[in-house]
Amino acid sequence: MGKKRIWGIALLTIFVNILCLPLWTKCGYSGFIRSLFNKEARLDLLYSGQITKNEPLSIKLTPNPFFATWVYEPGSNIHRINQSLRTRGKWQKLSLQLKALRDGKITILFRGPDVHDEYGIPIPCLIDWRNVKINGKTILTKRRAFSFIKPFANRLWVKKGDILHIEAEFRRHHFFVHDFTQLKSGMVWYVITGNLLFFFLVYRLLSYIQGGGIRRIDALFLAIIFPMLFIPMIGISDAVKSERENRMLAVNPKLEDLFKERTDYGRRYENWFNDHFCGRIALIKLHDTIRNQLSRVIRAQKAVYFKKDSWLFELPLVVNMDNSPTFYQSIVRNLIQLNQFCQRNKIKLYVLEVPRKENVYGEFLKKEYGFDEKKFLQVSQAHEFIRNETEKHHIPYIYPCKALLDAAKSDFVFFKWTNHWTDWGAFVGYCELMKEISKEFPDMPVVSLNDFQKSQNWLIRDLYDESFAFTWRHLYWFLNYEDVTDSPNRAFYSYYDHNNRAKMAFKVERFIKEFSYTEGRRRVMLMGTSQNENLNHFLPYSAAQTKYVRLNMGQAKTADEFKILKLYKKDILAFKPDILILSISTENLSRLRDLCSIK
């Protein structure tokens, strides 16, 4: 083969290297592509010094008249502004004038946008900055690229009345060879071996084509297929955690483990490779997109989603409960023990069990999924037993399933995509609860829907209740929707706001909320799971003071959350409620055995 051909292949190899460049840099393809189409730069200002509620610096920005407002970060004790700037391929000028209203230290960060990949790892999306001047003094002349994680930072001390003039130019980053400085660790090996293999494969392929050993069309086919086989191994991800999957990714096993007895090395290596190979998420997305387009019912690992009506149900559809009498009896014994504690302290105990969505929408499931209602029989038997036993001991046990079934005819009582009841569902539950409470406490006012303003919105609980770490976002990812806003679920739900919100004082301390209402008479303590978030739109208007303790997000590990007498005895005695409401969802019924730890 002639020298020309060898040079030709060498040039081709270099060209392929340039194409593969993003794979070997920390940017990766996602960062590279993101940077190519990026329209955002970031300028962040951090102020630390005398912290008050008022803003520390007044700001005037040209050409953008709008500037983000100052946000106080209690954790780091600073005021912060995160300002997005629109950017293009051309250089743009930025001019900023700051006037210090107090003494302090200001940090100015010139950076790229805050973007993350599918694993939740920040993508180093780059922005070129140049000619950065502060009060006429040049601090950066030549173009340099900065990402969100590695910004160009400047710190200055300012005194009250100081004025800062900041000028800079920025544009979308253009990739050049100098980006090799961002090579991933361990990539050199891949680059060398990959290049050698590519060179020799092309060399051999061309000699065969020259010798008439293969059709050109098949040569092209092989030239496409072979690199595709190599790509997953040369762009292995460094990620440790997958945000999208909400789990830690498998760890690469140590090579020395290979020689240990019963090492399982192969399986562990496969797990690691499965989690990290390049293009994994893109392939998964392709698969899920096709699946979601073709399926009528999407069965995920833990949920079943009916595309036609956008209903999603958690799996298993029936709560697996121990069906033995000893199991029910232990629940009852715990409730009796709690009730005895309440009686000693002149507190009336009420138990509210929030039914599962599957119990209320069983008809739908039967129609669409052929689900047999008999499967709920076991749960019903459990209720029957617990209810009868608690009644014997004068513990009111409220299970508003029938009322919800009736109410479901007029509006959604549960959200289509989560297992929580809607405001309407919670109101129905509240009415059933108050029916029982008013027998003992007739002086407690019961709110009616006329006291509320009704609004319609398609927001679902994930957006509505933003403070919780356990969101359903993971589920959207599971079903290959980026976020709830991508989901096809556009059902409108009813929300209720009380007309006299001004009469309500509201205090939040982590997962304990306290409500004070001027027209109420009794003190109520509500302990329970997330379902009570909506219940709190109504219940506090019936009591003078309501204290809500969120059990599953409280102070103990999840396994201990329901050990009420162990964890919250002091709180209960300190608050001295007239009424203690223990609210629990059907799926957590077995946790009632933890109340007083009686097995």
């Binding site: 494969l201 293969i214 069309i217 092209l220 290979l258 392939l283 392709l286």
Partner: protein, 481 residues
């Protein structure tokens, strides 16, 4: 390591292919041998020793057979050595279980995991020594080449069972060219798509049905499960064989076909000539024919001929041979009674067809349709037996299928099959007939057609890779609260 795993597809295969293509001709065998041992050691390194021991036994055995006169004894000893490993790892616990059950014994089970592919490479090793014994081939003096024959990774784990006389020349002298590589890659993609897109999809349906308690299945669901499993096993196994043949082609080997559209058969005899051809022909060449011949040449045969006549004696010989062969076929598939029953069930229908002449081709269209329906029915029932965990489950499953028993179903069919599964089933049924049998042929085809096929294969590869990647997606989701 599975062919449809990411590690194989995106790590092992490209590296081995590249190395094999790049090294000099005389080193290619060593690259393949090392790759094969690595491939086998990946899952369970300990059992490499068992395989290497099998190689040594057969290497020494074959040389001794060719050298000494007591060939039969040496052959028997070598085969016993091969089967000894198979018995210990695969069948020992089965025998213990049955002896304990029969005699109320308390013999302890041995804690052992069956080495992957032991049934396949043991049969290949036996084929080698028998071929040497029959003087069909010369004994292999180079132990590395014999090791390559036994361990060759494309067919090591799930066949096809390559007989030594079929590949002896290729091991000694084969050429690797890009035309073969191109064909191999295409064949591999076809196999991968069969396995990943069709077999796995239908397998999920079959699994869902067969894991239901029998009293919760109705007639329609049982038929659905049985049909899905029938196509799953075909596409799974033939897909694996396609991948093996494709890989063989990439490395310069030409393996014989293992499947030839078995579901278009019009009799069970024909079906077994088209299904797992390498196993069927192995049993024919190394068991059925020698056994029939031995029985015919035996003393009782002549005396029986005199007593009951030659025709009846021949029938008896056929029955004995069929029983032994089909018992062994069933037993080879797994150490359980359901497999043995499955094997004998097939043997029974073959015998019936031989006796009645049912396996002769019918001229009328209606006759052919009836033959085809009969065959598929027998095959589907056989796979119910094959798939069921116990004979009891299989029996009740079959009774439900034919409406004798009636369970109460818990779910609508949508629980089992959605559009994707229906598409996979339709594609599976259509492609089980030779409609696009010559898709990969390039001779005399227009460039446009080849380009279209290549594009289609590329799409299939991406879809298969997406499906494999999706199986690695394992979210951990908090649902409660």
């Amino acid at each position: 390591m599975l062919f449809s795993s990411t590690v194989f597809l995106f790590l092992f295969l490209p590296i081995v292919c590249a190395l094999h293509l790049l090294v000099r001709k005389e080193l290619k065998d060593y690259v393949l041998l090392l790759a094969s041992i690595f491939f086998y050691a990946w899952g369970e390194p300990r059992y490499v020793a068992v395989m290497l021991l099998t190689i040594i036994i057969n290497y020494v055995g074959a040389i001794l057979i060719s050298k000494y006169k007591c060939k039969k004894v040496l052959l028997l000893l070598t085969i016993l050595g091969d089967l000894g490993f198979l018995f210990y790892f695969k069948y020992f616990n089965f025998f213990v279980e049955n002896i304990n059950a029969l005699f109320d014994g308390h013999i302890d089970f041995i804690k052992v995991i069956m080495p992957i592919g032991i049934s396949f490479y043991t049969f290949q090793a036996i084929s080698y020594v028998v071929d040497v014994y029959r003087e069909e081939v010369e004994p292999q003096r180079n132990i590395y080449k014999l090791a390559l024959y036994i361990t060759l990774f494309p067919q090591l784990v799930a066949g096809p069972i390559v007989k030594y006389h079929d590949v002896a020349d290729q091991i000694e002298n084969r050429t690797v060219d890009f035309e073969k590589v191109a064909y191999g890659v295409k064949r591999f993609i076809v196999g991968l798509a069969k396995k990943v897109l069709i077999a796995n999809t239908l397998g999920a349906v079959a699994d869902k049905v067969f894991t239901q308690p029998i009293d919760q299945l109705d007639c329609v669901t049982t038929w659905l499960g049985a049909i899905c499993y029938t196509f799953q096993i075909y596409y799974d196994f033939s897909g694996y064989s396609d991948m093996a043949i494709g890989l063989g082609s990439i490395f310069g080997f030409k393996f014989l076909e293992n499947f030839n559209y078995p579901y278009i058969s019009k009799s069970i005899s024909e079906y077994w000539r088209r299904w797992h051809i390498s196993l069927g022909s192995w049993f024919r060449d190394y068991m059925f024919l020698p056994l029939s011949r031995a029985l015919t040449l035996s003393v009782p045969y002549s005396s029986l001929c005199k007593r009951i006549g030659r025709k009846l004696t021949n029938t008896l010989v056929t029955i004995i041979s069929l029983v032994v062969v089909w018992f062994s076929t069933g037993f080879w598939h797994g150490a359980a009674w359901s497999f043995i029953v499955w094997g004998l069930y097939n043997g029974f229908f073959i015998f019936l067809e031989i006796m009645t002449g049912w396996n002769r081709d019918r001229k009328s269209f209606a006759g052919r349709v009836v033959q085809h329906i009969y065959t598929m029915l027998v095959v589907i029932i056989s796979f119910v037996i094959f798939r069921s965990d116990t004979m009891n489950y299989a029996w009740h499953y079959l009774l439900t299928m034919f409406g004798v028993e009636r369970g109460e179903t818990m779910y609508h069919l949508i629980y089992y099959v959605d559009r994707i599964e229906i598409i996979a089933l339709i594609v599976g049924i259509v492609c089980s007939a030779p409609l696009c049998s010559n898709m990969l042929e390039v001779e005399g085809r227009s460039q446009l057609r080849i380009a279209a096929v290549n594009l289609w294969l590329l799409a299939l590869f991406i879809l298969s890779a997406a499906s494999i990647a999706a199986s690695t997606y394992n979210p951990f989701i908090y649902f409660r609260f």
